[in-house]
């Protein structure tokens, strides 16, 4: 599972890379947003600098014109107090700033605000310089100061960045998940197919191609094994044919040999009948295994099922049907003209198997009716007999129990015959359904329902 590890690593690494990239972008965004504010707080217009600059040019006599202009341009006012607390001069001070300050006054505004103006103080040799900044421009804390704007922006900034990060991470997660699922889906589908014992093939590039290769290899093994099994069955059934021809041939000759003892002839007839049963079994076995492993080509062509039923029935009567049995055919007028796209040999085989079932399950004889009916969408072929029928349990078993080719159960008595499974497969190959209706003592009815029309 080296390739799966690689695949997952690749996704984890790219995810980690993305997180790092986001952190970096967050840092940049943070720096970029706060740079302006920070430079403003600490640049040459900052209270620190302004105080320094103003103090340098201020004395009891006044302040230099240049500095005064600069203060005014930045909406900063200034006052100068002498040692007694009297205002010696001012520049741009609002009216509410008093002329005289007591020690208490000084102590109060020294904390930060004078008439709600954030103020900054500098002691000089002969007095005190006070710079007043516009209201709401600074928030003063006992220990430090930040601009109100930066304080207000900060929470929004954090929430905004987190939200953007979250959305980006979610999108990346969603995209990755979809991509992984998209890549893994054919693999999972084919593994599920392999699980049913059927071959599956996928073609894939990229990191998962290793897994795809393994799935294809497993599929090849299944195909080879299925083929080997089907070839084995077909080989055995092929090899049985010639010796069985001899048994059937000589048995029939003895059965018809007029000079032979009647007892011997009867026994030869039994051998003949049983060898015909072996022939049916061998043919069914071979066809079932070929259909099961999808090695039987289906040769579909438009066929009149009415004609097919007539020809099957005529052939059955021509080869001889015992007097205990009767077979009749009922074709609805509408079904007479319908052409069904099917493999005529296979359908004929399915009908034959069902009729033979009725015959072999009713050794005392029965009346068999082959019926054909249709609607615009379906064609219904039914085989009905008035024989001994099936008990409810037997019917349930027939519908539920697996056939021995599909069963791993050792109990042979839980499995039913090859003939019916072949009918099932043939019906499946024509997208049809099969339904068995029966009641004990009231005969048995098998309905095959095939879709007709476009695409069938």
């Amino acid at each position: 599972m080296k390739s799966l590890g690689k695949y997952i690593s690749k996704y984890l690494v790219s995810f980690a890379g993305l997180v790092l990239l986001l952190l970096f972008i967050n840092g940049i965004a943070f720096g970029w947003t706060f740079y302006g504010v920070v430079t403003k707080d600490h640049g040459d217009l900052s209270p620190q600098n302004m105080l320094e600059e103003a103090a340098a040019s201020a004395s009891l006599e006044g302040i230099s014109k240049e500095t005064s202009e600069r203060l005014k341009n930045n909406h900063i006012w200034a006052i100068y107090l002498d040692m007694e607390g009297n205002r010696v001069w001012e520049t741009g001070a609002p009216d509410e700033i008093p002329e005289h300050f007591t020690v208490q006054d000084v102590a109060v505004f020294a904390k930060g605000y004078l008439a709600d103006y954030p103020v900054f103080i500098r002691n000089t040799d002969d007095g005190m310089l006070i710079l007043g900044y516009p209201q709401d421009s600074y928030m003063k804390l006992p220990s430090n100061y930040y601009s109100l704007r930066s304080i207000k922006t900060f929470p929004f900034f954090v929430i905004g960045i987190l939200a953007v990060d979250f959305v980006i991470l979610f999108l990346v997660y969603y995209y990755s998940k979809r991509k992984i699922l998209k890549n893994a889906e054919p693999i999972i589908t084919s593994i599920v197919t392999l699980g049913t014992g059927k071959p599956a093939s996928i073609s894939m590039r990229g990191e998962l191609s290793g897994i795809a290769d393994s799935v294809n290899k497993a599929s090849d093994i299944i195909i080879r094994q299925n083929q080997a099994r089907a070839n084995w069955i077909s080989g055995v059934s092929h090899d049985i044919r010639t010796p069985l021809s001899m048994i059937m041939g000589y048995a029939e000759r003895i059965a018809h040999e007029k000079s032979a003892d009647s007892h011997v002839r009867q026994e030869a007839e039994i051998i003949r009948q049983q060898s015909v049963k072996i022939r049916e079994l061998v043919q069914d076995l071979n066809l079932v295994s070929r259909l099961e492993y999808e090695m039987q080509p289906i040769h579909k062509s438009p066929v009149s099922l009415a004609g097919l039923l007539r020809s099957y029935t005529a052939e059955l009567l021509n080869t001889g049907l015992s007097d205990e049995y009767s077979i009749n055919i009922e074709i609805a007028p509408m079904a007479e003209t319908v052409l069904f796209n099917c493999d005529a040999r296979l359908i004929s085989r399915a009908v034959g198997n069902l009729v033979q079932n009725s015959i072999s399950h009713n050794p005392d004889g029965c009346d068999i009716i082959l019926a054909l009916d249709c609607t615009n969408k379906s064609i219904f072929l039914s085989i009905t007999d008035n024989g001994i029928g099936l008990s409810t349990e037997k019917l349930k078993e027939l519908n539920e129990k697996p056939h021995y080719m599909e069963s791993t159960d050792d109990r042979l008595d839980l499995r039913h015959g090859l003939g019916l499974i072949l009918v099932h497969q043939i019906v499946d190959a024509h997208n049809g359904t099969m339904q068995i209706e029966s009641e004990e003592g009231k005969g048995c009815k098998v309905i095959l329902d095939f879709p007709i029309g476009k695409g069938s």
Binding site: S234, S237, H238, D239, R241, T242, L244, S245, M246, I247, M248, G249, Y250, E252, R253, R272, S275, V276, R279, Q283, N286, R290, Q296, P297, H299, S304, A306, G307, R310, S311, T313, A314, L317, N318, T319, N328, I329, E330, I331, E336, T337, R345
Partner: protein, 233 residues
């Protein structure tokens, strides 16, 4: 139809299994065939066709020095002898390739002797016409070469359609022939819509061949399936 003339035909059997050759030979000779030649390989088969000039070749598909399909192709380069494949290969592909080569029938082993004989006769009858094809029915005789029914000193002519109808049934004497096969022979079509025409033909034929047309004994209706012709041996 009397097939005694067919029993004079020379048959060639090619199969690598001597036991099977022996059995098929005895089945055929028991039924009256007198000219039977056998071969066990492609090589022997070709020289047998060249030297013996059989009227029908029955070939196995799997032979020690090649397959029956190529044997047939080689035979076709110098002979038009009818061919039946008799093989253990039952796959649809093999059957289609055999019939695709123009074989007259493809019989899958194992087979019952009666089936084999029936199918050999069917091919022979299709390929070789009797010099004087007459069949005897209860109360009359049909002469196919002249398209006439001879009934109680009367000679009744048959129409072309009636001739085809009776010939199709006569080829399968005693066996049910479906309406599908009959319509195919008469009109080259499926039976739908031809019911009335078919019934009309049957009625007229019965008037010509039956002693009592309302109680037919020769041309029998098999309900829902078709018709069959009972002959008198």
């Amino acid at each position: 139809m009397n097939h005694s003339f067919l029993r004079n035909k020379k048959l060639l059997l090619v199969d690598d299994e001597p036991e099977l050759l022996k059995m098929v030979t005895s089945i055929l000779s028991d039924d009256g065939f007198r000219n039977i030649v056998t071969a066990v390989s492609v090589k022997e088969g070709i020289s047998a066709v060249q030297n013996e000039k059989p009227d029908l070749a029955i070939l196995d598909v799997m032979l020690p020095d090649g397959d029956g399909f190529s044997l047939m192709q080689q035979i076709r380069t110098f002979s038009d002898v009818p061919v039946i494949f008799l093989t253990a290969k039952d796959e649809a592909v093999d059957r289609l390739s055999g019939l695709g080569l123009g074989a007259d029938d493809y019989i899958i082993k194992p087979f019952l002797p009666q089936e084999l004989l029936y199918r050999i006769y069917a091919v022979l009858r299709r390929c070789y016409k009797e010099d004087t094809p007459l069949i005897n029915l209860d109360g009359c005789t049909i002469d196919f070469s002249r398209a006439e029914v001879h009934k109680a000193d009367k000679i009744i002519p048959l129409t072309a359609m009636e001739h085809i109808f009776l010939e199709t049934l006569a080829r399968n004497e005693g066996r049910i022939v479906t309406v599908d096969t009959l319509c195919e022979a008469l009109w080259g079509d499926n039976p739908f819509g031809y019911e009335n025409s078919l019934n009309a033909h049957v009625r007229r034929i019965r008037e010509k061949i039956e002693t009592d047309p309302s109680k037919p004994v020769s041309l029998i209706t098999v309900k829902g399936l078709g018709y069959k012709l009972n002959t008198r041996k």
